[in-house]
Amino acid sequence: MANRRVLVKRRKATRNIRKITRTMQLIATARFQAAFQRAMASKPYTAKLERLIEGLARAATGLEHPLMKVREDVPREALLVVTSDRGLCGGYNANVLRQVAEHLDGRAAEGVETAVTMVGKKGTSYFKYRNRPLAEVVRGIGDTPRFEQVEPVANGLMAAFGSGEIAALHVAYMKFLSAGKQTPVVERILPLSYEPAAGEAPAGEVLYEFSPGPAELLGELLPAAVRVRLFQAFTDAAVSEQVARMVAMKAATDAAEDMIKRLTMQYNRARQTQVTMELLDIVGGANALA
């Protein structure tokens, strides 16, 4: 019966798909481990840098820096969007882009124009499809972002901020909270704001010798902080992408398994029906002759 052959074919195809999705799941798991290590490796640097800045902000009172300047008169902002180059990762890109769209619409409603810098092929093609303008597209970062790749992007955006072209810089990416939880966020990077800790300095405060002076040191530390924050957005996004792919591929493998079970059942039933029908034919024929 033709039906049986069709079922066998479909089952075979589903098995192949399951093989592929399972492999992709394993690859994503391995990549996740590596990306996670990388993301964690940047934490000591960031933590130390932030602590230094806090200490300096206390030492240098009346702190002012071009990167901290709040501009109310410039109705232009920049948004850096981090998406992935590859698909098959569930709602990963869609979730980020939904946040982006919300943010853009919100800013537009307030009369603020936003120049979007897009990272990742998926976001680029989405914007193209929706006919939204992109100020800049960053290519080739892939799923293992390196600091030297992020640095020029960060420097370019900081320069635009410094020259007063933009009044703020936000970054949209999938924040990695834990292996079980990632949320799409839009975070403000510029203008930087460090609240000088109010009141007394905490006990046990070390009196540092600063070279050069606190204000000048801070002037060097703040751009470094911006760079590393952006870098962390990239590493976080890379980890989240792998998690999303892992989950999506696990779901696909499970779905394929269910389908194989169902197809097997249908096949067995079809086979049984055919056997019964043939038997009935034979018995009917024998009875007719008797």
């Binding site: 640097y45 130390k48 840098l49 230094l52 200490g55 600091f147 030297e148 070390v206 540092y208 070279s211």
Partner: protein, 133 residues
């Protein structure tokens, strides 16, 4: 040998912890010249220049190229924050030469561009010096 007067030395970049070891002496490429650090030095935060970090450890001398950044010495722990740190042997002479040419070609229109050019020039020159024989 008398008990060695060591302190901790950590070099971290945004990508990795490059070094975490005990050292008896460290020379840092500070922004205003090389600065030597021994155990029990007073707390210090210093800006670094592109250059060579030298450290004396129990396992021998360490040489490390650092791409600017900062160093903090406190409580006998010296932390070096830099955006790039690597073995000078891992530097690519060809790439450094190319970078020097690129830096020379940069235009110094305003103050920021001038500073960027100077920095690029300095980085390329230091890399060239470190890769020379």
């Amino acid at each position: 040998m008398a008990e060695a007067k060591t302190f901790e030395l950590a070099v971290v970049t945004p990508e990795a912890a490059v070094l975490d070891t005990e050292a008896t002496f460290v020379a840092l490429p500070a922004h205003d010249g090389e600065i030597g650090i021994l155990r029990d030095r007073a707390p210090l935060v210093v800006k670094l220049d592109v250059g060579l970090l030298r450290a004396e450890t129990a396992a021998g001398a360490i040489r490390l190229y650092v791409d600017g950044g900062f160093a903090e010495m406190v409580g006998n722990r010296l932390t070096v924050l830099t955006e790039d740190a690597r073995d000078p042997a891992a530097l690519d002479r060809g790439a450094a030469e190319r970078r020097l040419a690129e830096a020379r070609a940069m235009t110094a229109g305003d103050e920021a561009a001038h500073a960027a050019r100077e920095k690029a020039l300095r980085r390329a020159r230091v890399q060239l010096k470190l890769t020379a024989g």
